[in-house]
Amino acid sequence: MLSELDFSIIPASIPFLWAGFLFSLKITVTAMVGGIILGTLLAMARLSGGPWLAAAATAYINTMRSIPLLMVIMGFFIIIPTLIGHPIGSENSALITFTVFQAAYYGEIMRAGIQSVSTGQVNASFALGMTYWQAMGHIILPQAVRNMLPLLLTQTIVLFQDTSLVYAIGAKDLFRVATNIANTEHAPVEMYLFVALIYFVICFSLSLLVKRMQKRIAIVR
């Protein structure tokens, strides 16, 4: 029962958990930045890339979205060394996988964002003599990102939770470190409750932030 638990294991393991947390954060930030950039390119390819490019981007997005993330993580962990001929380690593999996987999800959000900008603005920028890239960079994308900010952030919360799945390839993120300590110190109850609490506090605070942001953006429009 609860009285038998020994939570003194927690302070002792903080340095290790912190290192794991930093890696979870590193995946999240890398995949967010890389995913939004790649995703925007995918969205542009789907919307204005010509039939072949659009079909390729659509196929890529649909494939990524129909396979479980665990499979994708494991798949890249197997494929990359086969392709380049030498192992790259589970940490690098995780960073690459999350970036290209999240690109599919951010891509769909950015596509909705680009479509949320009225066609009049697109025509106006072309009428002013802007090139495609100028119109995108100066007129359309800034508004698309702004309109989609709550969704992009919500996706990032999902991404942060999903980083726990690198457990499967043994990369040392927050959760993997916690399971290691739980096993070696025989303190599963204390460790798992504690990491659950950490994830909850972070994700819940971020979701409150998104809610506030939604209200502010609603006024601007």
């Binding site: 029962m1 609860l2 494939t63 129909s66 396979i67 479980p68 993330l69 665990l70 499979m71 494991m74 798949g75 197997i78 494929i79 086969t82 392709l83 919360i157 939770q161 999903d162 726990s164 799945l165 457990y167 499967a168 959760f175 399971t179 739980a182 599963p188 109850v189 798992y192 409750l193 990491v195 659950a196 994830y199 909850f200 994700c203 819940f204 979701s207």
Partner: protein, 244 residues
């Protein structure tokens, strides 16, 4: 690329037994479907109850529903499964704890399905709440004014419309359950992802098995999509946008 594709391992007998890897894959698909469907039913029941709670006039019941959703949405599914597996039994009274740890039949399956079900329930509750609240307030008031009790108003007025409204998001949620079921390998359910790792280790035909299992997941997700779309078409109400 000079990779030499070889699919013959599928028909090899495993460790001298009668079973082939193809048989293993068939049974793995069965477990993936079983754990997903069980979790889906649990999620629909709990998600409906919690979703309705969140729209009730009683503030405390609504707050309880909100708390459920926030807790189960903001903790990763993998962590939740470990909590179900390793923490929940420890918090039980002594006899029950011993039974759960030692004698409980199909422990892995029950833990996996329960964990996935409660996790998904939070998402369904969120969809259903939004669905109920998207109905105009007049409908609820009209039901009550007609002399329906609150329960009858939900049963005959609000829910029949709300469920139809949330069917499209439920479709993608159903596909998510199938994809998320891969995570139950971590608590020992012998489903597709578990067997994928197993076969990959035993045969080293990595790319072949990757293509097969990835394809199987895609087919399952597509089947789920077709099933839900059929239900959507069967239940639509004429005169609404969704029924075009």
């Amino acid at each position: 690329m000079s990779y030499h594709w070889d699919w013959s391992f599928l028909f090899q007998n495993i460790m001298g037994g009668d079973e082939t890897y193809l048989d293993t894959l068939v049974s793995a698909v069965g477990w993936t479907v079983a754990v997903s469907l069980t979790a889906w039913i649990i999620a629909l029941v709990i998600g409906s109850i919690v979703g309705i709670m969140r729209t009730l006039p009683n503030r405390y019941i609504a707050a309880l529903g909100n708390a459920y959703v926030e807790i189960f949405r903001n903790i990763p599914i993998l962590v939740q499964l470990f909590v179900w597996m390793f923490v929940v039994p420890e918090l039980m009274p002594h006899d029950l704890k011993m039974w759960m740890k030692q004698d409980m039949p199909a422990k892995e399956f029950i833990t996996g399905a329960l964990g996935l079900g409660w996790f998904t329930a939070a998402r369904i509750a969120e969809q259903l709440r939004a669905g109920i609240q998207s109905l105009s307030g007049g409908q609820r008031n009209a039901g009550l004014a007609m002399g329906f009790t609150l329960a009858q108003t939900y049963r005959y007025v609000l829910l029949p419309m709300a469920y139809r409204i949330v069917l499209p998001p439920l479709t993608s949620e159903f596909m998510n359950v199938i994809k998320n079921s891969a995570v139950t390998y971590a608590v020992g359910v012998i489903e597709l992802f578990y067997q994928f790792n197993q076969i990959n280790e035993e045969t080293s035909r990595s790319l072949e098995i990757l293509v097969i299992v990835g394809g199987l997941y895609a087919i399952l997700a597509y089947a789920a999509n077709r099933l839900m779309t059929t239900i959507e078409k069967r239940t639509r109400v004429p005169g609404f946008i969704a029924s075009k």
